[in-house]
């Protein structure tokens, strides 16, 4: 009896494997849309996207213990079967402020980075994989030398025209050292590692700053003269969670770290809202960030301009309504676009606003909505055109032109 039940089960298993094998080619479109993947306990929707030189869109997103690359050549109408970045499975962070990142090195190599969490909560390592041909990835490497089971998370990935690859991340080695010697330490630290060969070999990491916020995403861009910039939420004494902007020298060492926002949100807490930064063709730095100001939380837009040795915010304005969150921005062809999420009481709306005068005036463009969970939106550039990319649990990957 027991034996025949087992046989039946085996037969059923065999049949389902056979059936899956038969259906697999037809199912590739479904595989390409993670919204249709089997329901997991915790869908981690964090995704990044980039337009390839041939105009196709590449998306990096997590599926189980793999980062997968999804491609579309028709702006999201059809997707190719996904390809795994990491051949060997490993844990990957892709929720909330976490997501895999994707970029092209100057030599054409395709780069994907992610945070690999360790079993201990809030710990991890920054990983990077490179595909010389844009398709076949070498085994991922850890970009830092520090092997301690501590926080190395929330990496930002930046490439430069001279084939440097720079990652910066939240790093708690100095906090751990302070704890061990019973000394106080505000927040966490920011560390960076530089590769001069397109992401194959990294120089030893170095510190950009002490006292960053603990769990907000970082942002990066190239300054007017090509200098690498990183922006993050900082903790200014005693507990003001404003933002800092670091500028690196051409060789990749630290030039300066300056306070970039001045909203003075005092909270001993985790905002879970990181900033976004872009430098336009005229060399103007535009940023969006979330802060409470005078007791009310808002997404803010402003231009980070030099005033002597300091920075100041020019043209600061509120983005969206009281529930606007997780904004991103982009610049192309003289246009500036900001996209953000905003829950309207029923659904999560995707909103955008566009400026044709360098951020002085904007017009709002409602883009879409979803009933379910959703990732943070990203603003994408292809030549002179801008798009908003948004992954939602129910609809999958969505691309919205920003006319």
């Amino acid at each position: 009896m027991a034996r025949s039940a087992l046989t039946t089960k085996l037969l059923a298993l065999f049949a389902s494997v056979l059936l899956f094998g038969l259906l697999a080619p037809a199912a590739s479109a479904a595989d390409a849309m993670p919204a249709m993947a089997k329901k997991t306990a915790r869908p981690e929707l964090g995704a990044s996207a980039i337009f390839a030189p041939d105009g196709s869109l590449l998306v990096a997103a997590k599926q189980g213990d793999h980062v997968m690359i999804y491609r579309t050549a028709d702006e999201g109408k059809t997707w190719s079967a996904p390809a795994a970045v990491n051949a060997q499975p490993e844990a990957i962070s892709a929720d909330g402020e976490n997501r895999p990142k994707i970029a092209f090195a100057a030599d054409g190599g395709l780069l994907v980075s992610w945070t690999h969490p360790f079993p201990k909560p809030n710990t991890g390592a920054i990983r990077l994989a490179r595909a010389d041909d844009g398709e076949h990835f070498a085994a991922p490497l850890t970009v830092h030398r520090d092997t301690a089971e501590i926080t190395h998370r929330f990496e930002s990935l930046l490439t430069t025209p001279d084939n440097k690859v720079i990652l910066a991340w939240i790093d708690k080695r100095d906090l751990e050292a302070a704890k061990a010697s019973k000394m106080p330490y505000r927040g966490a630290g920011i560390y960076a590692a530089v590769s001069h060969d397109g992401g194959r070999i990294f120089q030893p990491e170095f510190k950009l700053a002490d006292h960053s916020c603990e769990c907000c995403r970082l942002s990066s861009a190239l300054d007017r003269d090509g200098a690498p910039l990183f922006m993050w939420r900082h903790v200014y004494a005693p507990n003001e969670r404003d933002h800092a902007l670091a500028r690196l020298k051409p060789a990749g060492s630290l030039e300066s770290v300056k306070r970039a926002t001045f909203d003075r949100w005092q909270v001993d807490g985790c905002p879970h809202h990181g900033p976004s930064l872009v430098v336009d063709a005229q060399g103007v730095r535009h940023a969006v960030w979330f802060n409470q100001k005078a007791g009310a939380g808002h997404v803010h837009y402003g231009r980070l301009v030099a005033q002597g040795d300091e920075l100041q915010v020019e043209g600061q304005l509120t983005v969206g309504g009281p529930r606007a969150a997780h904004a991103d921005l982009g610049s192309a062809g003289g246009k500036l676009a900001i996209a953000w999420k905003e829950f309207d009481g029923e659904r999560t709306q995707l909103q955008a606003m566009r400026s044709d005068d360098g951020g002085k005036t904007f017009r709002t463009l409602p883009l879409g909505a979803t009933d379910g969970a959703s990732d943070q939106p990203r603003v994408m550039r292809r030549g002179e055109a801008l798009f908003a990319f948004w992954r939602t649990e129910k609809e999958g990957f969505r691309l919205f032109p920003l006319p």
């Binding site: 306990a41 915790r42 909560p121 809030n122 001993d268 905002p271 529930r323 829950f343 999560t348």
Partner: protein, 154 residues
Amino acid sequence: MKKSVFAFLACLIAMPLQAADFTPLDKAAARQLLDPASHRQPTVVALWSSDCSHCKKNLQLLSTLVKSNPRLRVITLAAEPETANLGPLLDRFQLPGPRYAYGSDNPDAIAYAIDPSWAGELPRTFLFNGAGRKEKVSGVISAPMAEKALGLRF
């Protein structure tokens, strides 16, 4: 045989006393949980997450408060769906009250039902005095502030 049956029954009886599983919270239940009318005794609804280092300070404080105030009820709500590491993170604080985690509704809808003016920052703490008053605070709380808001101290 008898011994193992007894052990099994003992386990069943002990289960509700042990650190229970998380109850998934949908938006309707969230609205109810955060309604002052739902709380007839001093109650804290403490929002936290596995990512939030500052939340530990509040959970530790509430753990101390609940020991010295038998009337105080502490309800924890993880602002994320349940995962395997959520329980052990909370167990160390030995909080006796109900444990909630985000359910399958749109997380933005759950957050809105909890508090339309909350932007996701953690810790976020709601303090009910049990007589219709609700106070909310973002960030690390202090014992005197909490006791005052809860009506445990005047």
